[in-house]
């Protein structure tokens, strides 16, 4: 599936497009073909061999880890996926770096139009973000490499499309579209005047909110300035007036009760548990009575030790150390602790798109404020 062109998407030469295509093919090969073979190999060879030796099936993630890390097939798979990930960022990064001055100029011109961008150079970066560049993306979402930088946004917009081998849709927005659709279906009476997307990144899940709620004022916050500069220019290029603000989603500076809908998409699984709980409290503070918070992410952590081990692959190999926290949240208790009524919690599983196809554990959950 080809990525939809917009004015901020990087231009690529014939050979850059060809390298990209090779990387997307590698991703598809490892995920769609090799990953299922690992399960089969475990079920048919490795687990029975273990059971024959020990008189019982491998019952814990640690046992599965010991078995798998002794398997050259699994280690080869892991090296291939990690190597592909590093190659992806390096390959796209070269194309972004080549045209960065032009991209920065384009972003400045586009931002002169609709929407707004409010940056805060004094915003402290939480340790959990500063310590690890998630997805092994060099510089993460937050590192400025030059003045008025948009590098991280341009890199992520093209890179995540290759990562999901097109599975997030031509605009990388299918998860956001699903979030907006689930909220509309769950709360048909909700007519939000102001909507806030937390950890909005390049705005892939923010723009679908503008599509779903055309009468609303749409806001996005993120820690990363280069991501926000890119997001605001991309939104303008795609014809949307969106307000982007550099802020920590757990402590924004917006007034109490100033939003009717607060969302996040694939944010929670990059945050440690105390930060997620602080984010829920912030959502409760920001919502007006009758307002809704909705988070699209992992709904649960698999019980099966093999599935749990493979789910944790990204923790160990893709710089996503907090992934388990979002899958082990206690609903409704963790929402109730943030001020929501336990009876007002909702969960929508089977939300579709790339994550669901690979892991079958994603969906949307949240709560409505009384």
């Amino acid at each position: 599936m080809a990525q939809a062109r917009h004015a901020m998407l990087i231009e690529e030469t014939h050979d850059e497009r060809a390298r990209d295509a090779f990387i997307a093919s590698l991703r598809e090969y490892t995920m769609a073909e090799i990953y299922p073979q690992l399960r089969k190999h475990y079920d048919e060879v490795l687990a029975p061999r273990y059971a024959a030796r020990h008189g019982e099936a491998p019952a814990s993630v640690d046992r599965v880890r010991a078995i798998m890390e002794d398997s050259p097939f699994y280690m080869g798979y892991s090296l291939l996926v990690r190597g592909t990930q590093e190659l992806l960022w390096d390959t796209v990064g070269e194309a972004v770096e080549r045209q960065l001055p032009a991209l920065i100029d384009k972003a400045e011109a586009l931002r002169a139009g609709k929407g707004s961008l409010t940056l805060d150079a004094t915003l402290p970066l939480p340790n959990y973000t500063a310590a690890v560049d998630i997805h092994v993306m060099p510089g993460g979402f937050h590192t400025d490499i030059t003045a008025n930088d948009v590098f991280a946004g341009a890199l992520y917009d093209r890179g995540v499309h290759l990562f999901a081998f097109g599975g997030l849709g031509p605009l990388n927005d299918e998860l956001g579209v699903a979030t907006a659709a689930a909220v509309r279906k769950q709360f048909p009476d909700l007519a939000p005047r102001r909507v806030l997307d937390l950890g909005c990144g390049a705005g892939h899940a923010t723009l679908p909110l503008a599509e779903a709620f055309p009468a609303a004022e749409i806001h996005g916050v993120d820690l990363g300035a280069p991501m926000l500069r890119y997001a605001s220019a991309r939104a303008a290029a795609l014809g949307h007036a969106i307000h982007f603000t550099q802020a920590d989603a757990t402590h924004t500076k917006f007034p109490d009760a100033s939003f009717d809908l607060v969302t996040s998409t694939l944010l929670l699984h990059e945050m440690p548990r105390p930060a997620i709980l602080a984010l829920f409290r912030e959502c409760h503070r920001l919502l007006r009575p009758g307002g809704v918070m909705a988070h699209h992410d992992l709904l649960r952590w698999p019980d099966d030790p093999f599935d749990a081990f493979m789910m944790a692959w990204t923790t160990r190999h893709n710089n996503e150390p907090y992934e388990r926290a979002s899958g082990t949240l206690k609903f409704p208790e963790d929402c109730a602790a943030a001020g929501f009524d336990a009876a007002d919690v909702f969960i929508v599983s089977q939300a579709g798109a790339y994550l669901e196809e690979v892991y079958q554990v994603s969906g949307i959950r949240g709560a409505r404020k009384r």
Partner: protein, 108 residues
């Protein structure tokens, strides 16, 4: 990994001698991946040249950059990439039984 009716791609015989180990081997594999991407890009550039020539267009740099593959051409290129990946990763993803023999270890 089942052979099915495909040709066997791993030879019986004495273990494969040991070469690289640990981190060095990992780095070498990552370098090979980057080279494989370059080989794939070169092949697609050659394919573009040939298709331009077949259409009696001179394959000058501008024409190569402007060339937009049809869906049919893109499908053929995807199949070629898949075949290249299969050839390059054969040894990395070989069945454990082959690797265990190659390392000179017993499976028991």
């Amino acid at each position: 990994m089942a052979a099915g009716n495909k040709r066997r791609r791993y030879a019986n015989g004495p273990p494969r001698p040991k070469y690289l180990a640990g981190v060095d081997a990992d780095r070498a594999v990552m370098m090979i991946l980057a080279l494989a991407a370059e080989v794939s890009a070169l092949r697609e550039r050659l394919d573009t040249h040939e298709r331009l020539a077949a259409a009696e267009q001179p394959p000058v740099p501008d024409a190569v950059e402007r060339y937009a593959p049809s869906e049919e051409v893109e499908a053929a290129r995807a199949a070629a990439r898949r075949a290249l990946i299969d050839r390059v990763t054969r040894v990395l993803l070989e069945p454990d039984s082959v690797r265990v023999r190659a390392a000179g270890e017993s499976q028991e």
